[in-house]
């Protein structure tokens, strides 16, 4: 057992002192102190771009601090590579997935390990991975290739990867951002079980209710500095935390004006489509969205939401059925046709579908209107106009970025989302397909996005909002439609959470209502 020592008591498994990290144009960490106790869940809070991921990347050995020191179990450490950190028992689940898309789940988990020594013998390890998954209630097919998995499933692989390595200290950078509410509950019970075994967890999340529910202590960062450290979770309120993060009061309630829905903008008729594995993902979906209406699409991840968004926006072929936008049949037509009709798309995968990671902020925001004046005249792109336009959006949408020429892969998760939102909303859409638009955003930014969506609705846009956040769906939507295994289970317009929840598990509305009728009788 480690000797108790006056300066760093052994219950502090990690101590980071005066960490400074600079990137070109930003001071991401400015003399940050951070400590983690054995067996605790310590939440790290802060706005988008506050420097949370940077601090944790330093602890995980991915970045080197410009100055400052790190103690693990009371001993100074100096991680040159992530391998050093893993050896010291520190495992990190990244915000951007660190999975090789073309490899199987098991291969991804075995990557970098000493065992198996030479021959992979995948069948044997598939077995172990499946068992591990089962033990923690995570269902993943070990033989599936990662590119075939939904974002939620990929996240589970990330978690499994660290569990498999038996890390003592687990850093989770927004692990719940991609999970459905029920999955979050499962994750929390795993986390609790882990802390009971003496493991320590650093938990980054923008969702204050989660932080309140799971964490023991909280540290808050703002613009690279610590604004509050080691708060006991049960002694603070959500409002206080929000203020510490954003530096102002955050209004949690929404001001939703009554709007009379107009004409039908989106009409989906008996739509069928396949997923990447070639299995049916949509099985006869019918749906309409009218002007000035937000229709929420609820469902557990992987029930066809992504495929539906992709078919409507022209990114995926429908095998049967029709999609109409403002009366025009755009089924299986090129994406550009939809864009001309005013379809805008906020995709689930923001790093690959939503943005071009190596292009600048400017290039990313002009991607939809680069071929129209004033940004281009004929063949010529007007760089001044493009930059001016980007500059305006940067201010309007509060995008924090050193320069407009920065490639967007350098942006923090939240800021990248703002770039996409800026592009999609500024195009004045008639139909907006928004998939998880607030995932990864801080409370202040979420408030902003919700306002933007409501403003679009008041302007007469038709909005299909796809989200796994039931609270968000119910607050924003005029109607909530539930999808399960590619079929619409029913529709709720009075915010009946229980009914939505039951439909999400695959019970059709008729059956629920019939059951109720039986009961009444």
């Amino acid at each position: 057992m480690a000797q108790p020592d006056a300066t760093h008591p052994p219950e502090n498994v990690v101590q980071m002192r005066k960490i400074v990290k600079r990137f070109p144009g930003v001071l991401a960490n400015d003399h940050v102190d951070f400590e983690l106790r054995r067996g605790e869940i310590h939440a790290l809070l802060g706005e988008n771009g506050a420097g949370k991921s940077t601090l944790m990347n330093i602890l995980a050995g991915l970045y080197r601090p410009d100055s400052g020191s790190i103690l693990v179990e009371g001993r100074p450490v100096n991680f040159a590579t992530p391998r050093d950190a893993i050896r010291a028992g520190i495992g990190m689940i990244h915000q951007h997935f660190m999975l090789v898309p073309s490899q199987t789940v098991t291969e991804n988990i075995l990557l970098g390990l000493e065992e198996p020594r030479f021959r992979l013998q995948l069948a044997r390890y598939d077995q172990r991975v499946a068992e591990l998954g089962e033990r923690f209630g995570m269902k993943v097919d070990p033989r599936a290739r990662v590119w075939q998995l939904s974002v939620g499933e990929q996240q589970r692989v990330e978690i499994l990867k660290m569990l498999y390595r038996g890390a003592e200290i687990l850093i989770m950078d927004e692990p719940t951002a991609v999970l459905a509410p029920t999955e979050v509950e499962e994750l929390f019970s795993i986390l609790r079980a882990m802390t009971r075994e003496g493991k320590s967890i650093i938990f980054i999340s923008h969702k204050l209710h989660e932080v309140m529910a799971i964490s023991d202590r909280i540290t808050v960062l703002r613009r690279g500095r610590v604004t509050a450290s080691n708060l006991n979770t049960h002694e603070v309120t959500r409002a206080e935390l929000a203020r510490l993060m954003v530096g102002r009061e955050v209004i949690f309630s929404l001001d939703k004006k009554p709007v009379t829905p107009g004409e039908v903008v989106l009409k989906v008729e008996d739509l069928w489509a396949e997923n990447d594995k070639g299995l049916p993902a949509l099985r006869g979906v019918n749906l309409t969205v009218r002007q000035g209406e937000i229709v929420g699409l609820a469902g557990v991840a992987g029930n066809g939401q992504r495929e539906l968004a992709e078919v409507i926006t022209g990114l995926r072929k429908a095998t049967r059925g029709r999609v109409f936008v403002s009366g025009e049949d755009i089924t299986n037509r090129p994406v550009r046709q939809g864009i001309r009709r005013g379809v805008s798309h906020i995709p689930e995968d923001r790093t690959h579908v939503g943005s071009a990671p190596n292009l600048s902020v400017t290039d990313n925001v002009i991607m939809k209107n680069y071929n129209q004046p004033p940004i281009s005249r004929g063949w010529i792109l007007n760089a001044v106009a493009a930059n001016g336009y980007a500059e305006r959006l940067k201010k309007e949408y509060d995008i924090i970025v050193p320069t407009l020429q920065t490639p967007v892969r350098m942006l923090s998760g939240g800021n990248l989302q703002r770039v996409i939102l800026a592009r999609e909303i500024s195009s004045q859409p008639t139909l907006m397909i928004a998939m998880q638009p607030t995932r990864g955003l801080d409370v202040g930014a979420i408030e902003g996005v919700h306002r933007l969506l409501l403003a679009q609705r008041e302007n007469g846009a038709a909005i299909l909002l796809i989200s796994e956040e039931l609270e968000e769906l119910i607050d924003l939507s005029d109607r909530v439609v539930v999808i399960y295994e590619g079929k619409i289970m029913g529709e709720v317009s009075d915010g009946n959470v229980e009914e939505i929840g039951m439909m999400m598990t695959g019970i059709p509305q008729d059956a629920i209502r019939a059951g109720e009728a039986d009961h009444d009788r």
């Binding site: 391998r83 090789v100 073309s102 970098g112």
Partner: protein
């Protein structure tokens, strides 16, 4: 013209392409494209021949050829991996350097004497199998049998071993491999080295076994470029690479043999009467290479063919993922 003999000689000739192609597959799987294959092969052919003349030992020549080409490949590795320069430019430069070096060092080598060749062997039982026996296992150079061994070994290594898993990860998504403690830079250096060693082996196979001697740049005659085309055609898979290599080897032999007889299948042989027909056949692998390279340079098509995602992209630690 005996078809079996053409095929048998074709397998021998194809062994040259086989080594070079599998070598380049290793380098590219790790994310580094090396366009210097032709030069490295030539360097291998030259050093193998020169050492074999001087020592009388072809095996020593083979070894030195592999080392020489492996070493020179590290120049490209340094420029492409450490200095993070453009891999196409660096690979082309390596090619010029290696070709030039071979021609200078090989000056006068063509008349320097004769060497002991790598011996030929007929395998006792296997050579009795109909068709396959005479083509693959009868009177083949020992080195050709190395080729047979290399194909399944390379395949098994890439898909079914831990180092192979790391190799694929480093070429697909280096940031993921790095985050788990796989040393991306070291592995890339290593597989560029492997590519060099196998290119050197390919060169030595020419000068010590298949068409023995030193004929300056005609020794390799552009086969290094064909190998680069074959990598794309093979979709970075050793089994398909073997298939392509032997087909092209057979075609190469066919060009030589088909011009001999006056009659072909009872008809006057056009290749006999008009040598341009032969030139046309001879051109096919090169034309194929140009077409494959042009098609394969399209990003979207490369992706569909299964090119390693990070191929040609230097890895910079601390930058966010692709």
């Amino acid at each position: 013209m005996d078809l079996l003999i053409v095929l048998q000689a074709g397998v021998a000739t194809g062994t040259i392409l086989l080594f070079a192609t599998i070598g380049e597959i290793f380098a590219e799987r790790s994310g580094v494209m090396n366009l210097g294959v032709e030069g490295m092969m030539l360097l291998g052919a030259m050093s193998a021949f020169s050492i074999a003349i001087r020592t009388g030992n072809p095996w020593l020549g083979l070894l030195v050829a592999m080392l020489a080409a492996g070493l020179i490949s590290q120049i490209h590795a340094f420029i492409a991996i450490t200095l993070q320069a453009d891999q196409v430019v660096s690979g082309l430069s390596l090619n010029f350097l290696a070709v030039g070096l071979s021609l200078v060092l090989g000056e006068g080598l063509s008349k320097a004497g004769t060497i002991t060749l790598i011996p030929s062997v007929t395998l006792p039982l296997l050579s009795q199998i109909p068709i396959l026996g005479p083509v693959f296992f009868t009177n083949q150079k020992l080195i050709v049998y190395f080729g047979y061994l290399l194909i399944p070994l390379a395949w098994y290594y890439i898909y079914h071993t831990r180092p192979g898993l790391h190799l694929r990860a480093v070429g697909e998504f280096p940031a993921a491999a790095d985050s788990l403690g796989v040393n991306v830079y070291r592995l890339r250096y290593f597989y560029v080295f492997v590519g060099g060693v196998l290119a050197g082996l390919a060169g030595a196979t020419i000068s010590l076994a298949i068409s023995p001697g030193w004929f300056s740049e005609l020794t390799t005659a552009g086969q290094g470029w064909i190998a680069i085309g074959l990598v794309i055609f093979a979709q970075w898979d050793p089994l398909r690479a073997a298939f392509g290599s032997y087909i092209f080897g057979a075609l190469r032999r066919l060009v030589l043999d088909i011009q001999g007889p006056m009659m072909l299948f009872g008809f006057p042989n056009p290749f006999y009467y008009n040598p341009y027909w032969g030139f046309f056949l001879e051109m096919l692998p090169y034309a194929f290479t140009i077409i494959v390279l042009v098609i394969g340079s399209r990003e979207a098509i490369r992706k569909r063919l299964g090119a390693p995602t990070a191929l040609g992209i230097p890895y910079i630690r601390g930058e966010r993922g692709l």
